[in-house]
């Protein structure tokens, strides 16, 4: 809630911090409801989007945004989604406007939307600008961490006229995320490696959601020694990273390591069979299901800690 930036268009309040503004309006009026329109909301690009009435024809340019719209109970307002939008099941039946990186501007315009939801991570800026030049308001969301995803859910709730629902859902997700993070600070921190591809080995480095998931779940990212968001590791790099647990964000088949990689039993995860495959969509989409991913990662690391006392002898000997 603290990071929410909302500017309700009322002249006498201009100049106050937007945060104060939202809090004030939330306290003043018991329900920040759909008829709070017209509203003006600044998006993650700093562009102010003005809506006179709650949008009735919405196009989503990213699977995560589609999921959020359905979470907010506004799935009925979606008239177009990307060809990757497959969650929830109802989304797959909606008209397709192309992909995330190649949305078809003409098809979007033909749907005559009154709001386009887009992301700055993936949607081409030029195409979004083209839509805006056609007079279609575009609201960009670019959450970089879990808390920002929750905030985005609240803000999209406001934008879609489902502010209460947004707050409730975000609150529930925050609670689940808190429960999934181990409370004790000095618990064993396993070195966990998240890979998005097994051949070649491409790991998730700092600045990715997968890195945050590992840290929130009480592990440390074994790829942190490599810089860059998606470093590519040689087999030797994998041996040097020495991960206790490996998570594979499975994308269409590349989820198994070839035997010439797994035979390196110097890697504790291979030695102990601690290689866990998670649905790739779950960990790469900045949507509500990131919390599900966090719960899975957390459970896997808890499992590792539980098995810890039995295994140390095997690990100690090869450390010269």
């Amino acid at each position: 809630m603290g990071r929410v930036r909302i500017a309700v268009e009322r002249r006498f309040l201009a100049g106050f911090l937007p945060v104060v503004l939202l809090l004030a309006s939330a306290i003043d009026r018991p329900a920040f409801s759909a008829d709070r329109f017209p509203l003006a909301l600044k998006d993650d690009r700093g562009v102010t989007v003005r809506l006179a009435v709650p949008p009735r024809r919405v196009v989503s340019l990213a699977p995560s945004l589609t999921e959020i719209v359905f979470l907010l109970g506004r799935g009925g307002s979606l008239v177009g989604v990307t060809r990757f939008c497959n969650v929830p099941a109802a989304a797959s039946g909606l008209p397709k406007i192309g992909g995330v990186s190649d949305p078809d501007v003409e098809r979007i315009v033909a749907l005559s939307p009154d709001l386009v939801l887009c992301t700055t991570d993936g949607n081409p800026r030029d195409k979004v600008r083209a839509l805006e030049e056609m007079g279609i308001p575009c609201f960009a969301v670019a959450p970089q961490d879990l808390e920002a995803v929750f905030t985005a859910i609240e803000r999209l709730g406001v934008l879609l006229g489902a502010a209460d629902r947004g707050r409730v859902e975000a609150g529930a997700l925050r609670r689940r995320a808190r429960l999934a993070s181990p409370s004790s600070r000095n618990a064993d921190k396993p070195a966990a490696l998240f890979v998005v591809s097994t051949a070649p080995i491409i790991a998730a480095g700092e600045g990715t959601f997968m890195d945050e998931l590992v840290r929130l779940a009480g592990g440390r990212n074994a790829a942190a020694r490599f810089s860059g968001r998606y470093p590519r590791l040689s087999v030797e790099g994998l041996v040097a990273a020495h991960p206790d647990v490996i998570f594979v964000a499975g994308m269409a088949g590349v989820e198994r390591f070839p035997p010439e990689v797994t035979r390196w039993k110097e890697v504790p995860a291979f030695r102990d069979g601690a290689v866990i495959t998670l649905d790739g969509d779950l960990v790469t989409r900045p949507g509500p299901r990131l919390v599900t991913a966090l719960e899975r990662v957390s459970a896997a690391l808890a499992h590792w800690r539980a098995g810890r006392p039995k295994a140390p002898a095997a690990g100690a000997e090869e450390k010269r």
Binding site: F84, G99, S197, A199, P200, I202, A203, G205, F226, S227, G228, P231, R232, L233, S234, V235, E236, G237, V239, A240, M251, A252, G253, V254, E255, R256, P258, E260, W264, E266, G280, E318, R320
Partner: protein
């Protein structure tokens, strides 16, 4: 030709030393620290700890693979430049690269991920097939002219490029990153087994080219003059074409498409030893091997963000060096 002649006495030992030095440097570089002592033990006493295993089954095979690939590409480039009488020819000019790419993408797209061991095989199949198609298209009763070969190679290459673009565009997400990395050139697959698989192809190919070297010398004079000199021109051309394509195709199959080496290393070697193929071919092999091993070492060590594509490093590091080499020679490659 004469320029290289004077100082060429020391050139071959120097090139061999450069290749050995590059191999040693490559074997000494990597994220797992290996002391010289541990390296010595691993090689001469057969120890079996982690450093030994890293050295013997990761680093050395990779370095050797780099040497074989670099040498084969450079030799193949020399052959194509002579065959087509064109200094811009490289091993990929006649559709070998496009065929290999289509073969690799086909595996990634249409077969299950567990079929990835098939990828090199299908890449080789694609490369060999497109090389053969270009050759058959270019052949006439009167023989194979370089112009027709280049023309057919370019047309087939353009067609295959279109196929590649379609495959990449229509691929479901996440299905082909492996194939794309591989196409950018990748020595990371350097297992002892792959080195053993590639070695006979490279050995056979380079030896065959070496045996053809007098013919290649004569081809440079033009078909007519070569014929006058008693060369069975068409047979030499056919043999050269097939050998060089086989060499390039087998290399593509294990390492993907590594650019620049096959185009520029022959020119560098010519500066060093002149354009007689009996000396040029071995020099190009050694220079290409050393150059690619060094580039790969750089690609692994330079970036803390994991490995760089070796093809980018070969061009980035190689272009200035060879420009220097060529300009020093008065601009005559």
């Amino acid at each position: 030709m004469t320029l290289g002649g004077k100082r060429s006495g020391a050139v071959f030992p120097l090139l061999a030393a450069a290749l050995l030095g590059a191999l040693a440097l490559s074997a000494a570089t990597g994220p797992v620290s290996i002391s010289p002592r541990a390296a010595f033990d691993a090689i001469f006493r057969g120890t079996d700890d982690t450093p030994a295993r890293v050295l013997l089954s990761l680093r050395l095979p990779r370095a050797l693979l780099g040497a074989l690939v670099g040498g084969a590409l450079a030799s193949s480039g020399v052959a194509f430049q002579a065959l087509l009488r064109n200094p811009l020819a490289d091993p990929y000019i006649l559709g070998v690269s496009g065929g290999a790419a289509v073969g690799a993408l086909t595996v990634a797209l249409f077969l299950s991920a567990d079929a990835s061991p098939l990828l090199p095989l299908c890449a080789f199949g694609g490369a060999a097939l497109s090389a053969l198609v270009v050759f058959l298209l270019a052949r006439r009763r009167s023989g194979v002219s370089p112009e027709r070969l280049i023309l057919m190679g370019v047309v087939v290459g353009a067609f295959l490029n279109a196929v590649i673009m379609l495959m990449v565009t229509l691929a479901p997400p996440g299905k082909i990153p492996g194939a794309l990395y591989w196409l950018m050139g990748d020595l990371g697959l350097g297992t002892p087994r792959r080195v053993a698989v590639l070695f006979p192809y490279v050995a056979l190919g380079t030896v065959l080219l070496y045996l053809l070297s007098r013919g290649l010398d004569l081809l440079l004079l033009g078909d007519h003059a070569a014929f006058q000199a008693g060369l069975s021109v068409e047979r030499v051309k056919t043999a050269t074409y097939l050998t060089a394509s086989l060499l390039a195709g087998s290399v593509v199959a294990v390492s993907g498409l590594i650019g620049f080496v096959g185009l520029i290393v022959p020119h560098g070697a010519r500066v060093l030893v002149g354009s007689g193929h009996r000396r040029l071919l071995p020099a190009a092999f050694l220079l290409g091997g050393a150059f690619l091993v060094l580039s790969d070492t750089l690609a692994r060590a330079a970036s803390p963000a994991g490995e760089l594509p070796v093809g980018a490093v070969t061009a980035l590091a190689g272009a200035p060096f060879f420009l220097y080499l060529l300009r020093r020679n008065g601009g005559n490659p």
